[in-house]
Symmetry: C2
Subunit: 197 residues, 2 copies
DNA sequence: TGTATTATACTGACCGGTCAAAATAAATTG
DNA sequence: CAATTTATTTTGACCGGTCAGTATAATACA
């Protein structure tokens, strides 16, 4: 019973995500969500307080999912370079696979200023990202292949570089550039960490 | 006559900008624009084709203005480091002064995927940004203080770092962090350019 | 006076949220 | 186990309200 309700909530979140990738966050209507979920219009308001509640939960779901996938990728690697490479490869996993995720994420980012819940969710996401950065840096310092004065600052810089690259790539929207931005991002981070072979 | 019309158009663009900073791009109405411009509702439709036309011109205006101010700042400097510092200082000019600009810019970015005009405007903006990066890099190479393999790639990385830092700063929305992100951004770019004293 | 500009009222489309009724599932009972 | 009652879920029509765009009236100005 509670299980079925949980299923429905996931179904509606997925529908909202799909609608957002196709129409853009702001222009998604309750009717769109219902259509993508193949239910009638009233259902969304039965399982969620209101439309904004749907999107708050969606934002939380997306950022958590991005982080978990990234964390899983780097934990499979032993070396600092391996971890960093896995991290960047995960971020730029494939044009089709994550483009929608980050597009919707960008939609949410542009709303953060108007919504304290979003701000909090994103703050948590950042902290997760920085912890990934720290893990890679610490590993590299142990291996004595990085030269980093301020670990915290470097971890922040890593995520700046990733987000900046990702956004510039998204904005140009050219499948050919996918590899280019991935390697550019990777190599720039190596320089920020003053990698020495 | 044509001069007055031009004035009115600017007035409306500014009003649209102000409305966007306060209410967020998507929720700005024609009435809002009219209110901020201190005119009646019909005026906007008299000087612009429609609402979307207003925002397209606003986006163009904002990106052009950001670029021009950045370009002016770096051209006042002679050395590579001076130029880079002026560039970053201009980007992070002051929390209040440019926060609104970049917030609205971020609003537009999230719309790029749904609007080819926006995409084109942003592409031009990027090209301007990269040209600033190239100028700084060339200067640094002449001075022999940078070590850059691929100038184009480095110029792109610079803007990735700037946008990434800017967005992360905007999302955290803490006045105290302004200086922190400015210096972090500056120092990271120096490392990307492999600056040697 | 006539043209350009601005103000105001109006229209039609759309949207979020509500709600009563219908459908379905679960529980109870004889 | 079947009949009946009760609880849960789903439907879609509907309402109040908003908005973009239009039409028209009023005003300024040359």
């Amino acid at each position: 019973m509670a299980k079925k309700a949980e299923q429905r909530r996931k179904q509606i979140l997925k529908a909202a995500f799909q609608a957002a990738t196709e129409k853009g966050y702001e222009s998604v209507t309750l009717q769109d969500i219902a259509d993508y979920a193949d239910v009638s219009k009233g259902v969304t308001n039965y399982y969620f307080k209101n439309k904004s509640d749907v999107f708050t939960q969606l934002f939380e779901w997306i950022t958590t999912r991005i982080y978990e996938k990234e964390a899983a990728s780097i934990s499979e690697q032993e070396t600092a370079i391996g971890k960093l490479e896995a991290y960047i490869n995960r971020v730029f996993i494939s044009p089709e696979e994550n483009k929608n995720f980050y597009r919707v994420y960008l939609d949410f980012l542009s709303q953060v200023k108007n919504n304290d819940s979003y701000k909090e969710i994103n703050q948590k996401f950042y902290e997760n990202c920085w912890s990934i950065g720290r893990e890679i840096i610490h590993q590299g310092l142990e291996e004595e292949i990085f030269e980093v004065g301020d670990v915290e600052q470097a971890a922040i810089s890593i995520r700046c570089m990733i987000d900046g690259s990702l956004i510039q790539w998204l904005m140009r929207d050219d499948a050919q550039l996918h590899d280019y931005y991935r390697t550019t991002c990777f190599e720039s981070i190596l320089k920020i960490l003053q990698y020495k072979k």
